[in-house]
Symmetry: C2
Subunit: 740 residues, 2 copies
Amino acid sequence: MELQPILWVIPIAGLAAIAFAVYLAMGVLRADTGTAAMQEIAGTIYEGAVAFIKRQYRTIAILALGGTVVIGLIITLVEGPEVADTRYFGFDLGWRTGLAFLVGAACSMASGIIGMLISVKANLRTAAAAQHSLVRAVQVAMRGGAVSGFLVVALSLLGVFGIFTAFGGFTNPEEAPFLIVGFGFGASFVALFAQLGGGIYTKAADVGADLVGKVEAGIPEDDPRNAAVVADLVGDNVGDCAGRGADLFESTAAENIGAMILGVAVWRIAVDLNWPNPEAWIFFPLVVRAFGLLATIVAMFFVRGSEDENPMNILNRGYWATTIMSVGALAFVTWQMMQTVGVTGANGIPAWVWFFGAGVVGLATSVAFVYITQYYTAGTHRPVREIAEASRTGPATNIISGTAVGYETTAVTAITISIALFASYTLGSQAGLINDAGHNVGGIFGTAVATMGMLMTTAFILAMDTFGPITDNAGGIAEFSKADAKAREITDRLDAVGNTTKALTKGYAIASAALAAFLLFSAYIDKVNLILTNQIEAGTREAGTLLESIDLANVNVFIAAMIGAMLVYFFSSLAIRAVGTAAQAIIVEVRRQFREMPGIMDYTQRPDYARVVDITTRAALREMILPGTVAVATPIIVGLLLGHEAVAGMLMVGTIAGVLLATVLNNGGGAWDNAKKYIESGQLKDADGNVLGKGSDAHAAAVVGDTVGDPFKDTAGPSLHVLVKLLATITLVLAPLFIR
Amino acid sequence: MELQPILWVIPIAGLAAIAFAVYLAMGVLRADTGTAAMQEIAGTIYEGAVAFIKRQYRTIAILALGGTVVIGLIITLVEGPEVADTRYFGFDLGWRTGLAFLVGAACSMASGIIGMLISVKANLRTAAAAQHSLVRAVQVAMRGGAVSGFLVVALSLLGVFGIFTAFGGFTNPEEAPFLIVGFGFGASFVALFAQLGGGIYTKAADVGADLVGKVEAGIPEDDPRNAAVVADLVGDNVGDCAGRGADLFESTAAENIGAMILGVAVWRIAVDLNWPNPEAWIFFPLVVRAFGLLATIVAMFFVRGSEDENPMNILNRGYWATTIMSVGALAFVTWQMMQTVGVTGANGIPAWVWFFGAGVVGLATSVAFVYITQYYTAGTHRPVREIAEASRTGPATNIISGTAVGYETTAVTAITISIALFASYTLGSQAGLINDAGHNVGGIFGTAVATMGMLMTTAFILAMDTFGPITDNAGGIAEFSKADAKAREITDRLDAVGNTTKALTKGYAIASAALAAFLLFSAYIDKVNLILTNQIEAGTREAGTLLESIDLANVNVFIAAMIGAMLVYFFSSLAIRAVGTAAQAIIVEVRRQFREMPGIMDYTQRPDYARVVDITTRAALREMILPGTVAVATPIIVGLLLGHEAVAGMLMVGTIAGVLLATVLNNGGGAWDNAKKYIESGQLKDADGNVLGKGSDAHAAAVVGDTVGDPFKDTAGPSLHVLVKLLATITLVLAPLFIR
């Protein structure tokens, strides 16, 4: 097989991104580390974060090793020669799937840990830079975040490419995508526990610290007398950095593999019709992502601006640079790799143009979600103001209004995703890719290209996301170390921007999950049909029993669909409750310290921060097990009881329900948060025009909303992203188990 | 056609139920009307309720007349001879469908109005009876409620039977069910606006009265100085009585018609195989419901007990009597009507036994939901206590905990419905009903029988539901008229029971909607295929293009499914926001009265209750239009854009999402309400064992939760029940419009 030279871009971009991440990390580490007081608190945060991450990843590693063995065994036992979907079966396939799972899990863990480690270094440097310059502080925080962004995307790219190559991707490209699905499952598996554990930790610490500090003791946020305040600052890192990193690692990995599986269907056509370079269709997703990574590296140099500018503009400049360069790169890649199509699409327009259009739809979707999320969660628009107004009549109306806003956001989300799916499907189906059974496979491949287009900007989005906890921490460090007013003013501004970027990433993550859902279903159906075809050929199955449709009018499919939608609520319930339980443990401990160490309140005694960190760590790790287990076990049980068609129904309807509930939780939580900030900034007035600011009843009501939104937007919502993709990877890997 | 004598039971039971309702109503009206003070406030409530109902039903009547014309026109224009699904088409079919719609709408309005009128008479009599005897008060309230229950079910039974007969049900029984689908749509249409308007009214008044009275002015609930208190008492009647009556009217009607359509499939088999009385399969749903009505009449005599008994036990005795007699009646009806089957089912067991089993599954599901709802919303179990405990740390943790409980309740709900569906489907598919295409139609008919079994107890359930607002009002009247302590103690006990019975009805309503969903989809598919078959026979459509499956892997179906799930959230958002907007209008007015009429606070001036009632009425009617229009328009738009298969996907996934979100809202709201009551009853203690009762911070936190839950459980949740069934009836009626 003669390979196209363009494939070299995959390892080159991956390694370049890693090198660039190292370069950025060194720059961050060399930056000024501020005053001694700053260094002290930063050191405490660092220790707490490292302690948690060590313990958490040890637990996850044990779970992942267990998972590896179980999956290897299941595949070995179930995929005997008569059900094999490749020339590998039994133990041959079992160890490969197990290994892929393990590598996926390891890469996910590595990217989470390294990104988190650099961000707990960048927080201090950002606080130090904020003493002098806004732009400098933005750059330090953004570069710290970019280390995470580049590492996550590069490891995902190199990981998929590596395991694909190792399992014969260059010799049997049509077979390898099915062998590496374990990689995606491993990534989801780790992401689930990383996000759950981190999400529970961060919000239990936040809620616990607020309730016992602000509400009970009447001391301000981030006050050093609150024993839970360090745990709260640690939480920003372990929840937002490590959690979202794992989330997007698995998005990119799973969607990449799913797109390659769909590429196999096009590969068959290309081989049948003797088009040159048929394997290009399978490699396409990797190449697109590689170019996206290169575009993002260049775009990092656009993150610059002036001191008196809104910091969000500085970041937006980089984001737009990434997007525009990605459009160019997309045009080049689709032209390069798809111009070989032997037939032209509708209206005589070549196939690559149609797919370029589908990719642009993906990029446009990503831009749309950035602005949609801003509309719903920024204080400059109607929804947040509505919640702030409702706070004037107390916490109840604040909650009612926030709930209404959260529910409302599903409308534009669902409609945007629908348009993106419909447009990319329609564009793809014009490309003229008809297989020998007469099916047009271009439509589904169009949705895959759109997803890949959307994923081109992942590294930049993730950098903006990690910018959030870094600046949040920098603010905490400035407050805690009593830094001068200028530094605190700058970190406050950055913190507000960070809230927006964190919300954006969630919008992006959930939109990409929704767009990818359809390609992942299709990959599942392809895989099931491969197995069924082998069984029919082997004579162990009746002819004509392929999986042609996922029929909702079939009672088993309908039941599974209902269970899938229910799982989304039940899982969220467990995640939310876990935060409450863990927060309770923190409250009890801080109360004890206030009681037994009376010197805390007049600063003569130092609270025992480490003990609270330790208690939070243990509580979070204990509480992540139940929701994690429910998420993994439910699809397996449903698949075993109701069969392979039903489990697909569960996957699809579970995805729809999960995307919508995550939207409700993320945007509702973000809007509550910013309604509080809106009031704090003095923009809410009563009927007589008096400002209702900090300390007013309206503010107290808004604090209630903010606290309610915390576990919604930072624990349950992001964990649902992972759940949705876990459903897809788990069914893809365990498909043979569900065949009946 | 020789008719079975058993069919006479349909008109007999219907008329008997109406006669019994008249008898009960006369008994209630003859009862003692208490003190002059009681009569005065009851008179004010009566006037307010009548004023609202008049205005609301005038608006609804106009909308319904418009709907009649539009539907008649659409059907006339769309169902030309080439798409006709019966020998009627064009204007012939158009006027029939329009007429059925109008009759359905009229019956629904009549049952809502009459039931409401009697309940605003029963409230005073219940308060009066409570001065002397608990049992007597229970009986008055329950009989008042039963008037509503019997009228709703009897009108639905006679309405469906009448229009079925009028459209040739006795001469062409296989055709008539398709002609009367308009009846179900008319009922849903009225129910939607009745429930929305009533739900917005009741909760806007409740929230408005609480916020401006309890929170701002610091006066107790139901205090006569609060100008909104009469509106609040009026609201209980118009929301809970009229709304739920319309909800269950349309449930029974739509599910009855859906079951008859499925009966046609069995009728075909019966005709082919020359079984006697083939039409029995079509009449079966009507006969089962008639027997359920008779059983409920008898069961009313079991509503008795002793003075020192828990009033819930008195009601439960009647409910169990209804259920047990229904089992017996079910056995008789299935044996009588289905013993004629020419083939026996699996294991040589006759078909009627299998279907009897399916019906028992339905009755068991109804019992299960009564207890599930009690578990989640009564203060005696873990969930409510958990919320009460969480109130100790403030409103935020109360809300978080209540949300977690609400989400959690979806699990047992979805699993119970899944088991019921699976069991009734499996039982039915053993009955040996195989059609000439080799399809087993018994399974789906089994789910229809289960739904009918569940609906046998509707009249009793609805009586218990209406018991709720009657006793709630009786409590308000006792409080308002300063009745003696004994009367107030008794009405308080009844009010608590009423809260439980209201929650039960919602659980029952949503479970029956979920169980019926599957039969309504199947009816839709049957109807679409009838049209397609006619088109194929007429040569206007390619052969082999029947609707064989609702394929989720089809991109249009997937998009429609997502829109369906989104609609549920968006609609709820609009409903919740409507309450807030209407409540705001009330607050402004009550504040104005406090300001401009200073004598109110020292009882020297009487607040202008009527003005608040009027403002609430206008606000509620204005606010119901937007959510109502969205609910009706969305399925039509999706159907027109994406076609007949996609709209089925929307219907199914929208139903799943609606059932689950309604469960969350109903049970979460109920649990919040009872957590507040749990604290008020002095059962919550702090760490040192001190009671945290009324006036404590924990109580204040629980009040916030209760207020948040109000629009969830009494506006959005119940409106979702109606939305779910509206989706089914609208697609059934407008199916020809969506065919592509």
